[in-house]
Amino acid sequence: MRKLLTITATIAATGLLLSGCAAGGSDSASTEDVVAEASDEALVVYNAQHEQLTEEWVEEFTAQTGIEVVLRNGGDSELGNQLVAEGEASRADVFLTENSPAMSLVENEGLFAPVDAETLALVPEQYRPASGMWTGIAARSTVFVYNPELLYESELPTSILDLQNPEWMGSWGGAPAGADFQAIVSAILETQGTEATAEWLEGMKENATIYRNNIVTMKAVNAGEVAGGIIYHYYWFRDSDAEGENSGNTKLHYFGNEDPGAFVSVSGGGVLASSDNADKAQQFLAFLAGADGQKILGEGYSFEYPVGSEVDARDPLPALDSLNAPVVDPSSLNSPEVLKLMMQAGLL
């Protein structure tokens, strides 16, 4: 059977050659130039923020500075875990996310370099962690989306805490598994304490229909499956700005009043300590938090809130300060306790 080995080896060699050609071909066709740039000159951004928004940012930043930027797109969790797995060997210079938990993950592994003080000064304190290892670059507000066919205005909950009461049995929905929602639970924990949070979570397990994410929750409310749901504001604004397919039958209710249901979650940006392009990376972060970057965000398609450089939010969003959000330090969010409580309640 020695010949068998020979033939296998022959086929394998031919094939490897072929696949080598294929891989080589793929490189020269599309990716080689990008990778070559990425390895020395260009800034590598691990991007979990909305792609379209980051592309607009990059275009303007490159036009202003001549610095090339390469994006590696992915989700908060995938890229956060990838950065941890890569550790010091990472080729990333900057990490951008939609939520703060992935930032904390990377921060806790000691992988971030401190953000330049001038950049931090552009962002009000409540929209960045006290540690200064990363900064908020955008914000999103918790809202209660409801179907007016199923719920009169007078029946709306005055606090997110009301939703644990028996009268809400079967009539609201949420997506507790996402990092999005855990930030909200963290806000409840921060403002109400452990016992109240545990009770609220038990009430949620009893009353709520569990969905996979914000969009699915909104769709369910739109379709009349449940009367209301907890989501972040911009999903609704974006959908109504497009076709209104998943939001046409719904309205938004803001809790305000420093209620934990009025919680505002921040999107983060940070510079990796292992970056070979630290100066350029800091420059990019300063651009994002600066007037030009925030203006692009404020006028762009994403409907997120600008947090820095006193730029206004896109019409028809209510102003960020008018939301009366509870005050919570982003770095205090998503403690292991939140997960423990959610597991105990059977939500995770």
Binding site: M1, A12, A23, S30, Q52, R212, N213, D239, E245, L339
Partner: protein, 517 residues
């Protein structure tokens, strides 16, 4: 004739031992394929048994285990019934429009399962749970049974059936007692691929409310950000896949299915459906509509709302997708060939165990496979990190069963006796193998490559994590747009993905006929 003569079967029981060289190649490759399993075991060891116990003894885990086991137990038989049933109808009966229906039945293979489930969720927003998961998964995966069943049916010599008929058996009895037993390899192979896919499926279940171990692991990565504990849940999937593999290996037994000569000297006489004709037409039409028309309808509807500037990245994504999936297909065929050879030419307990080792990792969620490769390549070969090589490796691990099962079936049908005859006539062994066996195996190689390429083109997470920075594939672009509810932006990518898949599906379909004609 497909079923072996007594003589060939006898020769398989006195199988020759494989050469040490081949064994070494297979063992080395198997170790490579087991990297993600090693990663899971390492993660489990890191968190310790106590934490693993706490993770696994949650009430939620009971729900997940039930869902995961139920979807495999229910969906696999369903895909077999649908796959074999439709293959029999279009191949063996006088169903009007057989050719059209034969193509319609394979069409869902061109539609990524997550696109199909997205389409269903758009049209039936309340779709959820086991029922929803079953509907989406069955419709997306039955072609994986249909194709091999169709190929085998075309290759069958109808004389056995005719003998049975002349002995007075009814058509139903012939189907059950004569035809289906001959489809055993096709059914088991197709069923195995479907089962392993179901264990690892995320995308198809993401748009509907149905949770399995895999969806929970992906969610765990999103929520707890605790890598090791999320990865350790993969242990359960690995164990489930070992059970699935063991069942398949036992059921497959040692039977050989080689035949010599042009089998279909006599063309099968189509069975008259008679008064069942309308029912048959109705069921195949319904199947095609549910599996193809419904999911595509919402995608096409949204594509009308797409603006021209949304098409900017399309060409780039098309090129990247084609090259990466091609490279995955070549890689998977190369890795699968030695083990398929060992399994068919030297069947033994050892070869079956090695074969299983190759396939276990394909039941793990892609995020685990990808993170395992991140860790291993950065430590062992940092130069190939985030190059086409790492992403190809991931595709090979994830889609290997598709190549393995197809090549195994192809090899099983190539009679060793032809090669022996060539050698007896004085051809050197290597040349005999190249000139006799390889050409006979080419259709199976092409089919295996096409099946892997189809899967790779739709792969998401591993591509995101491992492809060279800046790579855009159709699947990642679709997902990125669809998850920011930019449906008009997502639709062109979904449609291009389907169009790109058509040649591979056409190739697969053509292969089903080439054996018999």
């Amino acid at each position: 004739m497909t079923r072996t003569s007594r003589a060939t079967r006898a020769s398989t029981t006195t199988t020759t031992p494989p050469s040490p060289g081949l064994l070494v190649v297979v063992v080395v490759l198997a170790i490579g394929m087991l990297i993600p399993v090693g990663y899971v075991i390492e993660a489990t060891a890191r968190i310790g048994l106590d934490e693993l116990g706490a993770l696994l003894l949650r009430p939620r885990v009971g729900e997940l285990l039930t869902n995961t086991v139920l979807i495999v137990l229910l969906a696999v038989p369903l895909t077999i019934v649908l796959g074999v049933g439709s293959a029999w109808l279009v191949e063996r009966t006088d169903l009007p429009g057989r050719r059209f229906f034969a193509v319609l039945c394979v069409a869902p293979l061109a539609i990524p399962s997550f696109v199909s489930s997205y389409g269903w969720a758009s049209i039936v927003p309340s779709i959820q749970g086991l029922g929803g998961g079953l509907l989406v998964a069955t419709l997306a995966y039955y072609p994986l049974v249909y194709l091999p069943a169709l190929a085998t049916l075309r290759g069958l010599n109808p004389s056995l059936e005719e003998s049975a008929r002349s002995l007075g058996l009814t058509e139903g009895a012939i189907l059950l007692r004569v035809v289906i037993p001959q489809l055993r390899l096709a059914i088991l192979g197709g069923g195995l691929i479907v089962a392993l896919h179901l264990l690892a499926e995320y995308g198809a279940f993401a748009f509907i409310r149905f949770d399995t171990f895999t969806t929970a692991i992906v969610v765990a990565y999103q929520s707890t950000f605790a890598g090791p504990s999320a990865a350790s849940l993969g242990i359960v999937l690995a164990l489930l896949s070992i059970i699935v593999l063991a069942i398949e290996a036992t059921a497959r037994g040692r039977a050989r299915y080689a035949y010599v000569g042009s089998s279909s000297a006599t063309q099968a006489q189509p069975i008259a459906l008679g008064r069942f004709t309308p029912v048959a037409i109705l069921s195949v039409t319904a199947l095609g509509a549910l599996a193809t028309v419904v999911p595509m309808a919402s995608v096409i509807r949204w594509s009308f709302a797409a603006k021209p500037d949304m098409l900017d990245g399309l060409w780039r994504a098309l090129v990247d997708t084609s090259l990466l999936s091609l490279s995955g297909a070549v890689g998977a065929v190369l890795v699968a060939l030695p083990i398929a050879w060992l399994a068919t030419r030297h069947p033994s307990r050892l070869s079956k165990t090695l074969e299983g080792g190759y396939s276990i990792a394909s039941s793990l969620p892609a995020i685990i496979v990808a993170l395992a490769l991140v860790t291993v390549t950065l430590n062992v070969a940092p130069a190939i990190y985030q190059t086409a090589a790492t992403v190809t490796a991931a595709y090979v691990i994830i889609f290997l069963p598709r190549a393995l099962v197809t090549l195994r079936a192809g090899l099983a049908q190539v009679p060793e006796s032809l090669e022996e005859a060539a050698r007896a006539l004085g051809t050197p062994p290597l040349l005999a193998r190249l000139r006799v066996t390889l050409p006979l195996l080419l259709p199976a190689i092409a089919a295996a490559g096409a099946l892997v390429a189809l899967g790779a083109a739709n792969e998401l997470t591993a591509t995101l994590l491992l492809a060279p920075t800046g790579t855009r594939t159709l699947a990642t672009q679709f997902w990125s747009a669809a998850s920011s509810i930019d449906y008009p932006g997502a639709a062109p990518y979904a449609i291009t993905l389907v169009l790109l898949s058509i040649p591979a599906v056409a190739l697969l379909f053509a292969q089903t006929g080439s054996k018999a004609r």
